[in-house]
Symmetry: C2
Amino acid sequence: MKVGILGGGQLGRMLLQAAANYTVETFVLERDNNCPAAHLCHHFVQGDITDYNTVYQFGKQVDALTIEIEAVNVAALEQLEAEGVQIYPSPNAIKTIKNKIIQKEFYRQHQIPTAPFVITNILNEVFQHTHFLPAVHKIGEGGYDGRGVQIIRNEKEIEQGFNDPAVLEKMITIDKEIAIIVARNQHGETAVYPPAEMIFDQVLNILEYQITPARINRDLLWKAEAIAIKVVQELNSAGLFAIEFLIDKQQEIWVNETAPRVHNSGHHTIEASYCSQYDMLWRIILGYPLGNTKLICPSAMINILGEPGYNGTPIYQGLQDTLKTEQAFVHLYGKHSTKPGRKMGHVTLLAKEEGELIYQAHKIKQKLKVIA
Amino acid sequence: MKVGILGGGQLGRMLLQAAANYTVETFVLERDNNCPAAHLCHHFVQGDITDYNTVYQFGKQVDALTIEIEAVNVAALEQLEAEGVQIYPSPNAIKTIKNKIIQKEFYRQHQIPTAPFVITNILNEVFQHTHFLPAVHKIGEGGYDGRGVQIIRNEKEIEQGFNDPAVLEKMITIDKEIAIIVARNQHGETAVYPPAEMIFDQVLNILEYQITPARINRDLLWKAEAIAIKVVQELNSAGLFAIEFLIDKQQEIWVNETAPRVHNSGHHTIEASYCSQYDMLWRIILGYPLGNTKLICPSAMINILGEPGYNGTPIYQGLQDTLKTEQAFVHLYGKHSTKPGRKMGHVTLLAKEEGELIYQAHKIKQKLKVIA
């Protein structure tokens, strides 16, 4: 089977590492021919994943397509789907998710709990909704990894918002953030991973580390799982999905957003789960049975981010020390240059004790720095 | 760092899957451009790994070289080593091991216990050693995966032996076969993996399945570990080594043979160990600390072999069923054609209970067949 991936970043890289456990012929489309996934596929095609013709021509060579980023040309995918190429997730699901306005309306339409919101088309409209503040302003299209999201605490901060179509969302007083990965195959069967609990860096608004399983009570777990499955069933698409939740101080649970692809919150599944998220997506694409989502061992996952103030060829300070950590698994993405906050790699830790996981995660966070 | 691999089979494939956790630039030299490793490296070079000039030119592009098969041009490696290319293992270690006569003499010279043997240059010489029978006749160079090994039970069977330089080795009445993987870095530090216990198919003389850790008592374990380390220290080479042992009915332990590379007996380390054998070799090559050889969980590993009577494009009968096994990890090597006994993939099982491992291994063995 010939399968193409739109995008060649670290998610593509790990997808291709997993692909080599099967007999699939792999294609990657990406503008940067030095990208993390470029050398791990059978056929690398240099090109723009947002361009209709490029995506269409790329897709015509393969039996199935998947994505590692939502910012792709959906019209080309719709045409390819109409011509019989299998797309994971469906172009319709990508369309629903890639625009945060449509995504939020999808939740509302299906009674999926999500923070109250209004839509603002230009920045000035935010002034009509000051009763919503403090709020989070999220740009409709083009946000990624914390970009395109702006906190607006009071009227004075409104000017920091977006002058493009955006969602203005009531700020939830967050107690915890969790993510649940759900796999869905062509027959509508689903498999659900245990939730990961995410701890964010307040400055860069990017994941600092996470631990799995999340420390939540059983009632909340069941509710979160039920909602996660509902999101995926309503999207009505085969593929792999990560549903991010906010849990507020009153222990109410709200869907924050959904990613219709392998996801940062599932990196740990490579070592901590019987079937990794990457393996799972291949199983779905290749028509194999869904895999076992159970944990082999509790885990922590630390993103290795470019240090503020450094741009250029990366130097991994503290790597030797990190590699000495007995239960650590190091993944470097092989990116040719670092910049502040850029995802350069990750470390997964396995340990039965939660305290040990947190202690080791902090240690790695302190010693491993990407400078230039 | 630029690193080349001589050979592009399944061992190279798994090495490259592991390489993508680091920032190494990879090269593969192999005659078959459809080989399992061809598409997973940065630079694939089509060529003969036994040819001096081909290996030399290939090696001149890289900082370090490793092998996934011993049948390589050692003279070229010696020249490259003299010119400053790092070779894992050292050409001298490959020379010692690739010829079974030299390998056996190496064991004798260093008082490493190995089955009594004589050297025969032509078949007729076997008749001078009939007191050695029953014996195993092993061809000096060119054997692989059970080829080049002939059992000679009595004088009548002598004619089945080799008319080339060979080792005639007293047959050990085998109680168990185990293998121990030892890693050694540039500083002479070693790391030892728990032993795997191997169960052989008596017909094809090829591994049927193995379980780890081996079911041996502590005294035998310590002895085996000490011998394994001695073998590697006497070879005096950095790299990764698999030492195969025979344990006889009297519980005496004998080195059967050594492989100076990642090895079939270490496949399970991908999922069952904190640091896989493939990861470990990269750590050695890249100058990183040795990894953690401890088991995350006991495991079984089943080779998926081409069924007798089938040649051609492989069909993996029973694959869907195997993929449903909850604690199974399936690895297919993506070989374009199958033949009887050819290694087409493997399955690793994780389970705490030995009985469960054996039960599941037998089940997979029965249901998963590669036909054409």
